[in-house]
Structures are given as structure tokens and as C-alpha cells.
């Protein structure tokens, strides 16, 4: 299992649009990717759950990646966050 923390810089947070792209990205990997914020968890492949986290700009999230391709997935997802969120 790999995990990292990230502070959201996007001004609208993980809202519909960014969440949609995140889901698309997360579906590329076989690993289970879970986003956590203030004790709430959401699978990165589930749009509704992600939006339900209510992640806003400046919030810190923890990303947990577990599965056989976790090394790649974790690296790529981090890059994805840096680029998009």
C-alpha cells in the first residue's frame, strides 16, 4: 500500500468536473484508490462519493493506493493531482 497527502490548489476543489477527470484517471489502474478527508473516505472511481467528500481549495486529502500496480498508480495519480487539482 502506498499513500501520500496532497493539498488541493484548484479553486473549486474536487467538484463535478475535476472529480469526473479523476474518476477517469483512477479507472486506468487495477489498484484500489481511496481518497480520505477528515475521516471520510471515497473510492476514486466513484464520482458521487468523491463529490460527497466536499473537498475544497486548501483542504488536505490523503490518497491511499493499494494493489499490484500501486507503485505506478500512486506515482501517476500524484502527478495527476499536481497537474489538475
Amino acid at each position: 500500500m502506498k499513500n501520500f497527502n496532497y493539498v488541493i490548489k484548484d479553486e473549486v476543489g474536487i467538484h463535478a468536473r475535476p472529480a469526473g477527470i479523476l474518476v477517469k484517471e483512477a479507472k486506468k489502474y487495477r489498484s484500489r484508490i481511496v481518497i480520505m478527508k477528515d475521516g471520510k473516505k471515497a473510492e476514486a472511481t466513484k464520482l458521487m462519493a468523491l463529490m460527497g467528500l466536499g473537498v475544497k481549495c486548501g483542504d488536505e486529502i490523503m490518497v491511499e493506493v493499494s494493489g499490484e500496480d500501486e507503485d505506478t498508480a500512486s506515482r501517476e495519480i500524484r502527478t495527476f493531482f499536481e497537474k489538475n487539482l
Binding site: 479553486e11 473549486v12 467538484h15 463535478a16 468536473r17 472529480a19 469526473g20 477527470i21 474518476v23 477517469k24 479507472k27 487495477r30 472511481t45 464520482l47 458521487m48 462519493a49 463529490m51 460527497g52 466536499g54 475544497k56 499490484e68
Partner: protein, 640 residues
């Protein structure tokens, strides 16, 4: 995959094999990836999906279910696949079965009532030389009432068929019913009297632009109505494409019915008439020139004629034979028809014995089987035997054998009556014993043939009931057919949450929504600032900026209602949410309000997205309404 016991169910869409596994940890992903055909795999919504690609997935799926012995969760794609593989006869039979499934309750009811009526009015069954009604005049009116009830379903059968067939062929069902009604209009000569009229030369004609068209009704017929309904639906669909929307409601039904109705009387009528004439001659030839071989042929073909409704024309032949009773001694046709009917009943009863896991089919089989033994075969033929196919073949075999025997020993009838076991009362007294023997032969051989055929071809009923016994190769194709026939595809509805102009997803003025990344759906240009629940469900998320709501509904559908484009930047100003996460809501319940003018004043588009965010999990998601829509109109159908 962890062996076949680990597979709960399987289905496939255009590119992916979709599996529900009992324990996903048993999957050997490395081995899976080493398979050349596998382009990828992932887990989504409880389904383990293996990406294979178009074309390949079908073949893999076919092999897969053969190996794993499962046929559950067959999807629309499979139905089409199965339909493509069928030959024209199979397609015709499938269409007939599809058309008849919704009508069956009416047929079974009418058949049983007719049986009761036969018992009440049959001469000499319980009382020497008299029917029950004659022996007990008090029940006369009751018998008449029963007779009327039992007739209604068959007399107006074309209306029911027209409705059902138009629906199957994609036309407007109610127009199909109109076509059916036209074909049995009381001003036309009754189709039941046609045989006699043909004999007497009293068939009425219309003169339409120089063509003489027989003014004959189609009471109790099947194929002509289906043909007409097909014609209607075909014309209607073509017209809908050409006729401008403004005139559509006036012009399309008018022209469709006019054209289809005219075609019915101009083409189907004469064909039926010609066939009727030819059949009378054929019947005479079969019996008087061919003997028991003729009986065999007649016994086998009779049920086929019932399917087409042309058996009514045979009354002509029988009437003619009975008219010459002095020289011929009686009609040989009666026993043959009774044998064929009993065989259908026996086949249906055999189904009842086989289908131990399907109570619905069992009850249908028993009711229609008994009705057949009393002489009314339509429920058994359409409801059970044709639907499963193998019992129909079994019935043909049994009917043929029984009929051949009856003709061989020359069982002759002296009057017309119920063509079943109780028809014995219409038989010449010296032939009665042989008549019963013929019936017994027909029943036993049809029953046995059906059981044997069922063992060879009919594993499906057990499979569809969920058991996983090994099956012979080739059986699963049949199994799929049955599966698709018995299970209506399930669709769930998403209602319009907002009143306004519904536009295709691609036209939403926002790249993300339009691209479909967030799922399939529609856009709505709102007219009022009110959002209602698009189905019964649970609120799964409400954004803090109050402009978007997620709701989970029937079948796990997750719908995102996002009001306006870029309205997240309004920080909730002008929006009010009336529910909170986890709330259970009813379809139509008000969820939020928003101020259209404030959205526009802030410089954003008020066009709202209604998206099924997990549309990938469903075989299809069809927008059924665009343009101006009221709140809670059906806008999207989702196949489950």
C-alpha cells in the same frame, strides 16, 4: 477465475466480458493478462470486467458460458446475437411467441370457458341422447352466458393481436388494435361462417375501383392480423420520418391505418380465400385417395393451420363431407383433428412434468393442456408448445401417429363438435372405441415424444431456474432464446428533474459535461428554478455550493443534477437545497430551488446537466424525450 463455482453470473457488452464473482481475490490477474486477447481488466460496481474488443467478446462469451455452464444475466446484445443466428422459421415462431405472451391470460381463460360450454352442450355425454342443457333447461341461460364469455376472447382476438403485434413491430399499439377491429367489423361477413358461405357461393364482395374484394371478417385468425399489424407498423414508421412534426398526429395515423387496412382486404383476404379453396380440395384428396398416409399428413399439418388461423377454412371440407354422409358414412377429419388437438394438450402436460422449477410455466401448461384435451388448442400451442418449441414438435409427432391410426381404422364422425377427448359423442357408435384408442395413442406418443425431445433439447428450463448441471453442447443457444422470450428486458426511468428545454448531452455548453466523461445524460435549459427527484432514491451528495445534487436510485443508478455551467463560482448565492445527504426521497419531491435570473446576471449559462454518472454499468441509456418538457416527464430510459 477461481473455477466455475466462483462465477455468480456473466454477461457482456460491446467490448467487455462482465462477471460477477463470488470471491474476486481468486482471480489470477497475471495469467489473465498473459492471454493475448485480453486488452485489460478492471473492477467496477461489483462487476469484474475484462476488455476484449468488439466481435471477440461475443465468441469468448459463448465459449465461456459453455465452460462455466451458466446462462444468467443475458443482455440485449445477446438477444440480438441470438436473433441473428435464427433461421426465418425460428424468427417467425419467436415473433409469434412474443406477440402472444401478453395475450395468453385471455386465451387460457377463453379456452377453459369453451371447454365448460362444450361439456354443457355436448349431446349424450352424461344423459342418453341429450346434452346437459337439454336435460336441465334451468342452466340454459347460464350456458349461453358461458358461451358468450368464452367466445369474446376469440372473436375479438384480432384486436388483442393487433395491439400486441404493433407494439412488437414498433408501431403504435392502439392503431394496431384499430386494424384488428377493422378486420372483425360486424358489417363484414363473420369469418367463422366463411367456410359455409364459400360452399354456398354467398360470399359478399366490395367493388373497390374495379377490384372485387371479399367482405369477409377475420374472426379468430392470427397470421393475417399479424401481417396487417406488421404492414401498419412499417408504413407508420416510414411516415413518421417524412411527415413534418406539426402534422404528425393527424396525418400519420390516418394514412397508416388507411393503407394497412386496404392492404389487408386487397391482398391478405384473397390469399386466405384461395388457400381456403385449395385446402378443401386437398383435404378430400388426402382422405379419400391417400388413406392413413393422408391422415398422418393432416394430423401433422393441422396445428400449423391453427397457427395461421386457416383451420377455420377446413370447416368447408368437413361440411361438404358431412353433407354426403349417406354415401361416405361419416367424416374422417374429425378424429384426426381431435388427435392433433389431444397431442398438443399432452405435450403441454409433459412440459408441466418437466418444468419442476418454474411454477408459472407449470400452471400455464396444466391449464392449457386440459383446455386442449377439451378441444381448444390455442393456449397450449401459443403459450407453451411454440414458446419452448420442442413440445410443439413432440405434439406434431404424437398427433401424426394418432391421426394415422384413426384414419387406418376408419374412425368416422357424424356431426361437428368439440375436437377433443369428449368429441367421442360426435363419432359413429361403432367407431367410438377406436376413437378412444386413437386419442390414447396420440396422447401417449405426444407425451413420450415431448419428454424425449425435452431431454435432448430442453435443458434450458432447469438452467433458467438457476441450476448448473452439465448440458450438451448446442443447448445453450436454445436456452438463450428461451431466456430472452421469458424475460422482458428491464428498464428504469429517469424523469426530468427540471422543467425546460431538454437538449442532447453533446450540446451542453460545457466541454466536460458534453464529452460524457461524467456519464451519459441530457442538458436542460430551465424554465423554472426548481429541481425535483428524478426517481425514488437516496441523496448521495450535496455540494456545499448548493448547485449540484447527487442521487442514487433504482438499480444503483447514480444521477448528478448540476444546475448551470460554472455555477460553482457563485458560492451558493441564489441556490437553496431542501434535502441533505442520506435523505430518502420520492420521485417528484422538491430537492432544491435556484434563481435563473441571478445565474444569468452572474454571467453563467443556466443550462443544467442531468447525468447518469455510472452509465458505463448499464447496457444502454436512451434519451427518449428532447425539446420542451414538463417536470417529471420521462426523459431517459436505462436498461438494467
Amino acid at each position: 477465475m477461481g473455477g466455475k463455482d466462483n462465477i455468480a453470473s456473466a454477461a457482456h457488452c460491446a467490448t467487455r466480458l462482465r462477471l460477477v464473482l463470488r470471491d474476486e481475490s481468486l482471480i489470477d490477474k497475471d495469467a489473465l493478462e498473459n492471454v493475448e486477447l485480453v486488452k485489460g481488466n478492471f473492477n467496477n460496481g461489483g462487476q469484474f470486467q475484462i476488455i476484449l474488443g468488439t466481435g471477440i467478446v461475443n465468441n469468448v462469451y459463448a465459449e465461456f458460458i459453455k465452460m462455466a455452464n451458466i446462462t444468467e444475466m443475458t443482455k440485449e446484445e445477446l438477444k440480438k446475437q441470438a436473433a441473428k443466428k435464427m433461421n426465418p422459421l425460428q424468427k417467425l415462431l419467436k415473433t409469434l411467441a412474443d406477440v402472444f405472451v401478453p395475450i395468453l391470460p385471455a386465451l387460457v381463460l377463453s379456452g377453459l370457458l369453451m371447454g365448460i360450454n362444450n361439456i354443457l352442450t355436448a349431446q349424450g355425454m352424461f344423459v342418453e341422447g341429450k346434452s346437459l342443457v337439454e336435460a336441465f333447461p334451468k342452466i340454459k341461460d347460464f350456458a349461453e352466458m358461458v358461451n358468450l364469455f368464452s367466445n369474446a376472447g376469440f372473436t375479438f382476438l384480432p384486436v388483442l393481436i393487433g395491439f400486441s403485434a404493433a407494439k412488437i413491430f414498433g408501431g403504435t399499439p392502439i392503431l394496431g388494435a384499430v386494424i384488428g377491429a377493422i378486420m372483425i367489423h360486424p358489417d363484414l361477413m363473420n369469418g367463422y361462417g366463411y367456410g359455409q358461405a364459400l360452399l354456398d357461393g354467398t360470399v359478399p364482395f366490395w367493388n373497390i375501383f374495379g377490384l372485387s374484394v371479399a367482405k369477409v371478417g377475420y374472426q379468430g385468425t392470427v397470421l393475417p392480423v399479424i401481417a396487417s399489424a406488421f404492414c401498419l407498423s412499417f408504413v407508420e414508421k416510414k411516415l413518421r420520418k417524412i411527415v413534418p412534426a406539426m402534422l404528425d398526429n393527424i396525418v400519420t395515423p390516418l394514412l397508416s391505418v388507411l393503407i394497412a387496412g386496404a392492404m389487408t382486404f386487397l391482398f391478405i383476404g384473397p390469399v386466405m380465400r384461395g388457400v381456403g379453396d385449395a385446402m378443401t380440395n386437398a383435404v378430400m384428396w388426402l382422405f379419400f385417395d391417400l388413406g392413413s398416409v393422408g391422415g398422418l399428413i393432416y394430423g401433422v399439418t393441422y396445428p400449423l393451420l391453427v397457427i395461421t388461423g386457416m383451420h377455420h377454412s377446413l370447416v368447408t371440407a368437413e361440411t361438404q363431407i358431412l353433407a354426403n354422409i349417406g354415401t361416405l358414412g361419416g367424416s374422417p377429419t374429425f378424429a384426426v383433428v381431435a388427435a392433433a388437438n389431444c397431442a398438443q394438450g399432452a405435450a403441454a402436460l409433459a412440459v408441466m412434468f418437466r418444468m419442476k422449477n418454474d411454477p408459472k410455466m407449470r400452471s400455464l401448461a396444466s391449464a392449457s393442456g386440459i383446455s386442449s384435451l377439451l378441444g381448444i388448442t390455442e393456449p397450449a400451442i401459443f403459450g407453451v408448445n411454440l414458446k419452448l418449441r420442442y413440445p410443439f414438435y413432440g405434439a406434431l409427432i404424437g398427433g401424426g401417429i394418432g391421426a394415422a391410426y384413426a384414419t387406418l381404422v376408419k374412425v368416422l364422425s357424424v356431426s361437428q363438435g368439440p375436437c377433443g377427448v369428449i368429441g367421442v359423442i360426435c363419432i359413429r357408435p361403432d367407431c367410438m372405441l377406436q376413437f378412444m384408442v386413437s386419442m390414447a395413442i396420440a396422447i401417449v406418443s405426444a407425451f413420450a415424444a415431448t419428454m424425449v425431445l425435452g431431454r435432448v433439447f430442453g435443458r434450458k428450463e432447469k438452467l433458467s431456474a438457476g441450476s448448473r448441471k452439465p448440458e450438451p453442447a448446442g443447448a445453450e443457444k436454445v436456452a438463450k432464446d428461451i431466456h430472452t422470450e421469458t424475460e422482458e428486458k428491464e428498464e428504469k426511468v429517469i424523469f426530468a428533474p427540471i422543467q425546460g428545454n431538454v437538449i442532447p448531452r453533446e450540446d451542453i455548453p460545457d466541454e466536460t459535461f458534453a464529452s460524457g466523461v461524467l456519464g451519459d445524460g441530457v442538458g436542460i435549459e430551465p424554465e423554472t428554478g426548481e429541481v425535483a427527484a428524478p426517481f425514488d432514491g437516496e441523496i448521495s451528495s450535496v455540494t456545499e455550493t448548493r448547485h449540484a445534487i447527487g442521487i442514487t436510485g433504482p438499480g444503483g443508478m447514480e444521477v448528478l443534477i448540476h444546475v448551470g455551467v460554472d455555477t460553482v463560482k457563485m458560492n451558493g448565492e441564489g441556490f437553496a437545497v431542501l434535502v441533505s445527504e442520506g435523505d430518502k426521497v420520492r420521485a417528484g419531491q422538491k430537492l432544491m430551488t435556484f434563481d435563473i435570473s441571478r445565474i444569468k446576471a452572474a454571467g453563467y449559462s443556466a443550462t443544467s446537466a442531468v447525468l447518469l454518472t455510472n452509465s458505463d454499468d448499464y447496457p444502454s441509456c436512451n434519451v427518449v424525450k428532447t425539446g420542451k418538457s414538463k417536470q417529471m416527464e420521462k426523459i431517459i430510459m436505462v436498461e438494467q
